[in-house]
Symmetry: D2
Subunit: 345 residues, 4 copies
C-alpha cells in the first residue's frame, strides 16, 4: 500500500526530478500531477519539455495534468513550484489537510515550519505540533533548504559536535541545473563564470542558522554562526562545489577533523545513502564530474582539509544540487515523516 | 633603434604569448629565439606547436632556435622557461650581463630581485643596485608575480592607501590557459571543476606580502597581511575570476570603496592600459567571456563590492592571466626599465 | 554626411550586433532604434539585455526606443526582427519608401527580392527595378541568406566558375549564437550535441540555388545543384563549422582546387575583408576558436580538401555566423547599395 | 569458476575501462595486470592515473603490474595497448597460446583475424580455424573495430538485410574520451571543433567492408559499399554522434526504415543490451548527454530518418565510444567466444 502522492509543478525541472526519483520508490505512488493553467488539462507528455535522461514513466505519459488546487486524490504533495506562486498554493494545500513537502523557499523561515535535513535536525519536527494546531486540518508544510545550504551544512556536520563553528566563508561554484529549465542561457555560461546568483547568498547565510538551531520552548533558537557566502555560476551540469573556510571555537587539527569525517556515522535510513559523507585523500577531489553521483547523488564529499591563514581551516565540499540539494532530500524528508508516524494519523 | 630581445622558452605557451604581444611593440625587436635541446637547431615553425590565434610572425617562421646559453645577440631576454630549469639559466644570463625579465617563479622571492607590478611597487627597482653589484656583469633579473597574485594585488590597490588591508580570503576560479600547453587534459576539466592547483595557494599567500612591502635599508619589509587562498581550475579559456573577502584596518563603506576605484588614477604608461581598473555596477560582472580583454587584457575588473558577514567586504575581481598575469606584465616591466634608464648603462 | 539609419529589433541578438558593428562605420549613423511594444518607449539601456562584450555605445544608451512603424527619421533600416513579425513590418517600411536590409528569412525567396552575398551575386540587384516599381515608394527590401548558407556558398565560390557543382552534402556544426538570446538553454548544450535545428536544413538546401542563380529576363533562373544538409548545434560560441562533400561536373584534382582558392580574388570592397577566403594546409584547420575572427569575422576559411569516396571531394569550411553570416553581411550589402548608387535616388 | 583474465595496457584509458566493466562480470576474473616498463613492477594504484568515476576495485589496488610478456597466469587477455606496440605483443601472446581480445587497430585487417561485432558477423569466427592452425599454440586474436565504425555499422544493421547499402557519407562528431588520456588538451577543444582525427577516416571507410563481408572459401569477401567519412572532435565527454547519409539498392521509404528498426530483433546475449537499437521519434534525438548510456552504454540510438536530396536517406546515430565502441564490445566478444566453445578447448 503505497502512499498516494501528487506533484505540484510537475512540468518544471524539480517536478521532473521528483517524478524520476520516485519511479521505483517503494513507499510513494504518484497519483496526481498538477501545474499552472498553462499546462493543466493537457496530457503530461504533451505539456512537458522532458529533460531527464530516463524517459517519462510509461504510466504518467497520458496522465492529465490538474490545477494546483487542493482537490487532488492524494495525501502527500511534493512541491517544485516556482517561488512566485508556491507560498499561497502550499498554504492552501496544508490548510486543506495535505502533507506538503516543499522545495520552494517561501515557507522555509516560517516559525513553525521545519527546514529539514533529517540527518541533522530531525528534532525540528516537533515544530509541527503547533503548525498542525494552527492549520486545524491535520495538514502541514515541511521544507528543505536551498541546494548550496544543504551541501554546506552536511559538510560541516562532523565538526559541529566537538568544535562549535563560529565563522564560515564559503565561495560556491554552482551547476547550471540549479537554475531550472530553460534556466541559464548557454551564451551566458559556456566557457564563462557568472559571479552572481540572485538572492542566493542571503539564503546560504541565514538558513544554516535555523538548521543548526536548537529547539527551546517549542521554538528554534538559531545557531550563532557568522556565515558569508560568495556565489558563482559555473559551466558544470550537476553538482555544487564549495570552497569553505571555517573558524572553530575549540582547538583541533587537520588530522582530527579528517578523522571526525571518517568515523562519522549518520543514523541514516531510507533513501539516505549508506555512507553520508566521503573524504578524499587526493587534494584534487571531490570533483563534480567524478563524484557527484556518490550514494546515488545523496552523499556529500569533502576533500583537502588544510589550515587557513585567516580563519582556522579550509576545505572543498561537493554535493548533487538537484538530488541531495532538492528533490532527493524532499523525498527523504517524506520518508522520515513516515518513520515518525506522521502518515498514520 | 629597437632593443634587441631574446625569448627563452620560445616554444612554450608563455613564449608564444611573448612573441604575439611583441609583434608590433615599438621598443623591442625579437632577434633571438631560444629553447631546450629538444627544439634548438630547428626552424621555429617546425619546432613549435603554435596555439595563438594570430599566425606566427612571418620573420620568425624560419628563424633557427638556439640553446638557452648566454651567447645570444641581444641585450634583453624574456624568460618563459619552465621552473624546472629557469632558476639556473636565468642566473647564467644575468651573470653574463643580460637583463632578464622572467615569468618563472624561481627567483621571485630572492632578496634583491624585484617582484614587479610597476603600477604598485616601481620603487622596488632600487633593489637592483645590490643585485647588479653582486652579479658584477651589469646584468640582473626582474620577475613578475604569479598570475592570480597579479589580479588580486591590482584589485586591492585602490584600497591600500587609505585602508590598510589586514586579512584576505580569496577563492580563485582559474582559466585553463594558466596551466600552459598541453596543460590540463580536456577529460579532466570539460564540464568540471578541479579544486586544486599545485603550489598555487602558497604563491598567492606569500607574493603579495613582498609586492606590497616597503623598502627599508635597501631591503623589502614585507607587508603584514594575512592571506588565505583556495584555488580552483574551471573550464574557462582565459581569465582568472576571484571571489575576495577582505578585512581592513580603517572603517569605510561600500560606497567609499567603489568611489576609491572610480577615482583611482594609475600613473600608467607604455603598454599599461589607459584605465587600469574597471568597476561594474552590475553585480553579475565582471565575467571572463565579456570582460577579460578590457585594456587589451592589461586592465583588471572589479564588481559587486558588498559587506561581508565575517570579514568586512567582499567583491569579484577578474584579469587576463596570460596577458596582465604573465607575458603582458613582463613586457610592461621591461618598458618601465627603459623609462628608468636601465638600458642606457 | 553619414546615412541616417534605423535598427528594427534593436534589443535582439542581431540588433545588438548591428549596433556594435556600426559603431565606427564611416557611412552609416544610427539615428533610430525600434523594437516591439515590450521595449518601445523605454530608454535603450533599460530595455536591452546587452550581451556584446563591447559596452553600449554612449550616444545610444539614453535613446528612446520607438515602435517598428514607418515614421522613423532615417533612410535605411537594418532589420534583425524575429521572423514571426518581420514579414509584414519590412513590407510596410519598404512600401513607405525605406531601404530595408533584412536578416530575416521572410522575404528571402520573394521573386524580386535579392538574396545577396555581394561577392557572389551583386548582379541580382537588377531585381530591384521591378520591386521598386511594384512598391511605388522608392523603397525596397534586400535580404541576406541564412548564416550556414552564407558560409557554404562562399566556400564553394572558387570552384563554381571552372567546375560546375552538381551535388553537395553538408553537415553543419553550428554555434549557439546562431539561435539568438536567450536561445539555447545551457542544460541542453553543455557537453552535448543537438542533431536538429528547426527549418535550418530546408534553408541551406534551397537558398544557394537562388544565390548561384543567373538573371534571365529579369528573373532568377535557379542553379541546378542538389544539396542535402544535416544540421547540428554544438557547444561553440561563435562560428559555424561545415563538413562538406561535393560532386563536380568537370574533372579536377585536390591540388587544382586548393590552387583555385589561393588565386581566388574577390573584387571585394567596403567592410568586406581584404582576403575573402583562407585556405589552411594543416588538415586540422580551420577551427572556430582559432579562425572565426579572420578578416574581422568577414572571411571564410577552408581546409583539408581531399578526395571523397562517394562524391568527388570533401573539405572543412568555417565562417562567423553572426558577422559574415548575419549583421556584418547585411551592412556589407548596404555598402554595396551605396556603391551602386541606390542612395542617390 | 571464472576465466582467468589479464589486462594488457592496464594503466591506459581503455585498460581502466576494461577493469571497470569487468568488476562484476560473472564470467571473467582479472588475475593479471600488465603494462609497459614504465609501470611494470609497481603497485597498480601507484602506477595508474585513475580517471574512472568508480574507484579502483579494492582487490586490484595493490596488485603488482607485470610486463607484457606471455608468462601471465591467465587464459585470456584483453588488450588496450597503444598501437605503437600492440601488433607485436598481441602476436606473441597469441603464439604462446593465449586468447587475445584486442581493441587495437594493428591486426584488425589481417586475413584470418575476425573484426567482430557479434550481433553482425559472428560467422566470421570461422576464420579462427586457420589462424589457430597458423599459430600452432591454440592461441588466437580477435579484434573489435574502431569506435565510430561500431556505431555506424550497428546503425546500418537493420537496413542491411532488405536494402543492400551502396553508399554512405558519414560526418562524425566524436567525444574526447575517444582520444584516451591525457588525450586532447583542453585548450584545443573547450568551446571548439577540431575537424580532423588522424587515420580515423581511413578506418571508418574500410573496416565496415570487412565487417559486412561474407565468408567464402574460408576468406572474407568484402562488402561492396562506398563509404566516405568526415571526422570531427567535439567538446563532448562520451558518445560519438554521427550524421549519416545512405544510398540503398532497393527502394523503400522513411516509414519502412523506421519500422525495420522497431521490429529489429538482435539475437543478443551476455552483456549485450536487451534492446540493441533505439529509435527516437523526436528529431532532436539521440543526444550524447541524454542517450549515451542506453543499455548501459551497449545500445546504439538512431533518430530523424528523413529523405536525402543527394543520396536516398539521412539520419542521426549515437553510441558510447568507450563502452559499445571499445572495452564493452571487447568483453562481449569474449563472452560470445565462451558461448561458441572456444574456452573449452
Amino acid at each position: 500500500m503505497k502512499i498516494k502522492t501528487g506533484i505540484l509543478g510537475c512540468t518544471g525541472a524539480v517536478g521532473q526530478k521528483f517524478i524520476t526519483l520516485l519511479q521505483n520508490n517503494p513507499l510513494f505512488e504518484i497519483t496526481e500531477l498538477a501545474a499552472s493553467n498553462k499546462s493543466s488539462g493537457k496530457k503530461f507528455s504533451d505539456a512537458v519539455n522532458w529533460t531527464e535522461s530516463n524517459p517519462i514513466p510509461e504510466k504518467l505519459k497520458n496522465k492529465i495534468i490538474k490545477n494546483c488546487k487542493p482537490n487532488l486524490d492524494c495525501k502527500l504533495v511534493f512541491s517544485g513550484l516556482d517561488s512566485a506562486v508556491a507560498g499561497d498554493i502550499e498554504d492552501e494545500f496544508a490548510n486543506a489537510g495535505y502533507i506538503v513537502i516543499s522545495n520552494s523557499k517561501n515557507h522555509r523561515m516560517d516559525n513553525d515550519v521545519p527546514l529539514l535535513i533529517p540527518e541533522i535536525n530531525i528534532t525540528h519536527l516537533s515544530l509541527l505540533k503547533s503548525q498542525i494546531t494552527r492549520r486545524k486540518s491535520g495538514g502541514f508544510i515541511v521544507t528543505n533548504p536551498n541546494c548550496s545550504t544543504v551541501v554546506l551544512c552536511l559538510s560541516l556536520l562532523p565538526f559541529i559536535k566537538n568544535n562549535e563553528i563560529e565563522k564560515v566563508i564559503v565561495t560556491t561554484m554552482q551547476a547550471i541545473s540549479g537554475a531550472g529549465y530553460p534556466g541559464v542561457p548557454s551564451l551566458d555560461i559556456l566557457g564563462n563564470i557568472i559571479p552572481f546568483i540572485k538572492d542566493e547568498e542571503e539564503k546560504i547565510q541565514s538558513e544554516p542558522l535555523k538548521i543548526f538551531g536548537k529547539i527551546k520552548n517549542n521554538k528554534i533558537e538559531f545557531a550563532k554562526i557568522k556565515i558569508s557566502a560568495l556565489c558563482n555560476r559555473v559551466p558544470v551540469k550537476d553538482g555544487h562545489t564549495l570552497s569553505v573556510s571555517i573558524k572553530l571555537k575549540n582547538k583541533t587539527t587537520v588530522d582530527k577533523l579528517i578523522n571526525q569525517i571518517h568515523k562519522f556515522k549518520s543514523n541514516n535510513k531510507y533513501t539516505s545513502p549508506k555512507k553520508l559523507l566521503y573524504y578524499f585523500d587526493n587534494p584534487g577531489r571531490p570533483q563534480p564530474s567524478l563524484d557527484v553521483n556518490l550514494g546515488n547523488g545523496m552523499s556529500v564529499s569533502v576533500g583537502n582539509i588544510r589550515n587557513c591563514n585567516v580563519l582556522d581551516f579550509k576545505f572543498t565540499a561537493l554535493g548533487h544540487n538537484t538530488i541531495r540539494g532538492a528533490a532527493g532530500l524532499a523525498i527523504l524528508n517524506a520518508e522520515y515523516l513516515i518513520g515518525k508516524g506522521f502518515f498514520n494519523k
